[in-house]
Symmetry: D2
Subunit: 345 residues, 4 copies
């Protein structure tokens, strides 16, 4: 029985009438979709076939007699594994991420000064990092906390790229800064709190830079993939997903690293995925075990906060490795990457 693409199943209430079912079939027809009815002694189920864009917009749950609507197909297309079977590989400044290439992205939470960042870049390079991170614009929960150096921070990042040879990852928070951030950075980061800032997603979908998209604190994996779809839909297919912990009831860690998200994303999408153990745990001691766990679970990279002198950091000092700790952790990461049969960068 050939039905077209079944997008969803509508389960009717037990008390639903034939008129209720008829009204839904009419709605589907008027939208160019089709319904396939299965009636039993207890319940009626309608399979809906049609174009995703159309069917997704129908207010089916508002119809009388509808109990629930169960989605059959995943709500994204361009980022799905079905759309592209081979892994997407992102290459910037001579280093790669994805498809067997593992990135080690390291650097301070915030760019605080020229000296601080150049030193951090040198430490990162020495430890084998393949990319340098650092925030010029900082999203802070408290309005009284340090908010970043802004454009000046971007210029310092560009200088650090020159001195270290490492590509730069930095965050964009406001569409009004897009041009400046794109000018100075190699990869544009969208932070967890902006994962569903849809205007920002659409904006970076039109720029020629890879996007590192962090999962929101309360976002499901499918919502993360839908956020990526916003970007890819505008033409920018270079998206790196980042698992950085979700919010749960557990307070022993800042967030709960959802390690299962790594293999799940790999199954559902062709996009690469990295893990940020520093923000997930919020503790220096956990960076090594979580980094190793991320790699063996299949991650294409880890992003680690490191600071020349964490005890003077203006933000996230508690979770930043110092130079010695970073060297140790980086060596262990290189070692487990080799064990996993992959290559750094």
């Amino acid at each position: 029985m050939e039905l077209g693409s079944t997008e969803m199943m509508i389960v009717m209430e037990e008390k639903a009438t034939a008129e209720d079912v008829g009204r839904i079939l009419e709605l589907l027809e008027s939208a160019g979709a089709r319904g396939h009815v299965s009636t039993s002694d207890v319940v009626t189920v309608i399979g809906v076939m049609g174009e995703r864009d159309v069917v997704a917009g129908l207010p089916l749950e508002a119809y009388p007699g509808v109990d629930k609507v169960l989605p059959i197909l995943r709500p994204y297309k361009l980022v799905s594994r079905e759309f592209r079977r081979t892994d997407t590989v992102i290459t910037v400044g001579g280093t790669s991420l994805g498809g067997g290439h593992v990135a080690l992205i390291a650097g301070p939470c915030s760019v605080e000064s020229r000296e601080q960042l150049l030193e951090a870049a040198a430490i990162a390079k020495r430890g084998g990092a393949t990319m340098l991170r650092g925030g010029a614009f900082k999203p802070r929960t408290s309005p009284y906390a340090f908010q970043g150096l802004g454009i000046e921070g971007l210029e310092i990042l560009a200088e650090a790229r020159e001195s270290s040879g490492l590509p730069i990852v930095t965050e964009l928070m406001d569409p009004r800064h897009l041009e400046a951030v794109a000018k100075y950075s190699d990869i544009i980061q969208i932070g967890a709190r902006n994962m569903q800032n849809f205007q920002l997603l659409s904006a970076v979908g039109e720029v020629d830079r890879p996007i590192l998209l962090k999962r929101g604190l309360a976002a499901t994996i499918d919502e993360l993939l839908m956020a990526a779809e916003y970007i890819v839909k505008e033409g920018n297919s270079k998206v790196i997903l980042c698992e950085r912990g979700i919010r749960t009831f557990e307070t022993a860690t800042r967030n709960t690293l959802d390690i299962s998200a790594v293999p799940i994303i790999k199954q559902r999408s062709h996009l690469p995925v990295v893990v940020d153990p520093s923000h997930a745990a919020g503790k220096v001691d956990l960076v090594e075990p979580l980094s190793l766990a991320a790699i063996v679970a299949g991650a294409d990279g880890v992003m680690i906060e490191m600071h020349p002198t964490p005890e003077t950091a203006l933000s996230d000092g508690a979770q930043s490795l110092d130079p010695g700790q970073f060297a140790t952790v980086a060596a262990r990461i290189r070692d487990v990457v080799a064990w996993a049969g992959k290559t750094m960068g």
Copy 2:
């Protein structure tokens, strides 16, 4: 013993040394703060006194020997009940919210057409609503869903205000639209997904319009109050907080309405709070019980999705009341407001 304002307590690890404690005291001193040490046979605790802005920025958890840092004072000031004992009352277009005045904000999720909105405004007015809601810019999880009419939608909202006499509440998603949204609306809504879009918060802190700030899906009450502090800090003290459900493991409702947030916010802040039962539950049947619960728990208003014909709605049809349902629910709300000894609008 007079110590100054104790901002936090630092609990040291059992293995912490006198040097560890000394280093922290030096840091505090260099920052113009002070530490008060209590040593026992098991653990050392340091009480930290100083200016909040300074102390909050110190990377205390990064210091060797620190087990945990416990905040003593709440991390906001201007929005706190201690800062202002009397309830903030918001008045727009002759109707009030807060301090015994209860708002009934009703209207469709999205502005879909001139006809739809003018009819919705008339239904709202007839049912006793005190304000009209409707979205011109719509944040949608899926990039394939209806995204709103934009500026045209704002013009239609302005027309509906003329015809109904009801003040307009509409959402701002992008700082680039601020001028337009401020021009056409009476109250600017910041959506749940943008609760920590700090650039947007700062931007609306400089405009002369009350802000309706929705709680993020994974935001704590204190984080909501800190987001409000971002706005008030810029000079705009007219902020209305909105509880609209948080994300939990329960799937029977779209979100879990945190009804306790209403009395908790009332204790901690002088700002008014409204409840959005439509987005919390995602179901028409729950709008009445949750609205009544909100009022008796102390909310200063409810915000309800209503549509002239929910079954044709381009968004959120499943949770929109139809005109008959709205009239019934509105009557019950008016009744319970009277029971609670408050007044509508």
Copy 3:
């Protein structure tokens, strides 16, 4: 098209083969069930029809080619609203709960002494409570906390029933105490931590006492109803459900009261539901607003912790009302019950 009762839909992976589908149809047939296949250009869906007990036990998700299994029917029967349309009413000791009768269950967390409980019973009676609560066996997170008086506590409860005329609600934690608890109490409480202690559920299913079943901290509404089904299945149909807050990321309250559970349970089940605002919030100040919210949302009762002298309580003192507070809250509850058109007890 007559199919029998459709229990679930199996969604196949895109890469599933005809053999994969064939194997599932064979399994269904061998189990006396049937499958109805809908094939399209993208995905194949199999509707499964058969006896619930049989179909629920099939390891369908283990079969090659299966993407997901979507349940169509709810996983309980005897407690469902479909099974019985009219509300279940529980009557003990001349007072009722359910079907328009609202219970006010009050008393201390633990029975601490004869004097304490008899005084609490008198205060409860005076304030208009319809039942008396008190724990003889106490589940405590810490092994160093007070664990209850045991059998002696039960005897004191029985004496308090005599003196006050109020029926007794007390908790059972261990099947070995069932006989004793059933002997001395009018209603047996199963605590939140034991909601899925299935041996205990089955045991109380065979006793002639109403059961007050508290929702687990991480239990969905449907899991609560399945736990109730365990009891009813053994022959005891007198089950009262209790919403007492779920565990979420929010720390401002001990738990998050899921007020929406009240109307949802009413839709899905004929069993009565009460709310415990004391354990949900963990704060005295929130007991009144949450009690009122529970009643207007449709609850059949509230269960409130009250203590003659909360500052000497051996457990839960922080959330126990003192006699004056209780009198005030009880009066407000009686008032809102009248507003809602219901009767006390």
Copy 4:
């Protein structure tokens, strides 16, 4: 300043009076504890010193003027890393777990028949498992699901131990079965739903068998350690902790594996910890990546569901490895254990 062991800090409300403070100091004194008051221009903080058992039982939050009570010391003692610095190692039937010894515990969810279990034992042995798991008593969410073979299942397990030489891990659900389960098993498992079944915990604290204690779905790490303290307090210090996923909003996996719990538990406790990736993920495909992640994060073992023929399993078939899958995963686990410098069993 020598103060004794500071158990907690009491933060007073800003409006608290000197009388409020005085009343608390009196309470502390009457309980043999002491309070140390720090007063400032904004807030008063009282440090509480005394015996944990006494202080933990005081209803401090019930006192007028108290804002919050912050615990300083962790609420467990015997299981803490401070109590014992060296790792606890559990040895049964010639194989060890903890302190560099990694266990591979494998077997079916339920014992279904003699043939099934003996075959499973042989497969486990062949794949290098060090222990055999299998449930004779099964906790099931639905009363209509298979509940296990009971005592007969235990006898089959004992036979499988003979044939394979592998020690047996099996679950105890009811204190009335303790003798039988202790007789036939080498390690007694307490399931997630019974983690706070305190009667059961106390009961197994008196038996001479190691206990494998699974973390509850909504239990914090500290609550898991307090549950272990219940057991150790009764004299049984052989407790193995098990992380098996917590309940969150994410639905892509059955539960969210909290991988960070492994290093956190290692920091806080001397007890060994194993990971159950099968129950955490609920999916065969995730067992390998999560097992590897667990080992490199520091786990002392993994517990994996495996079945001779998963498609006929009476429970958890969807997450059970078949013999071929198990051989592959077991080989990878042995390989990563060697990489980590540890030994199997």
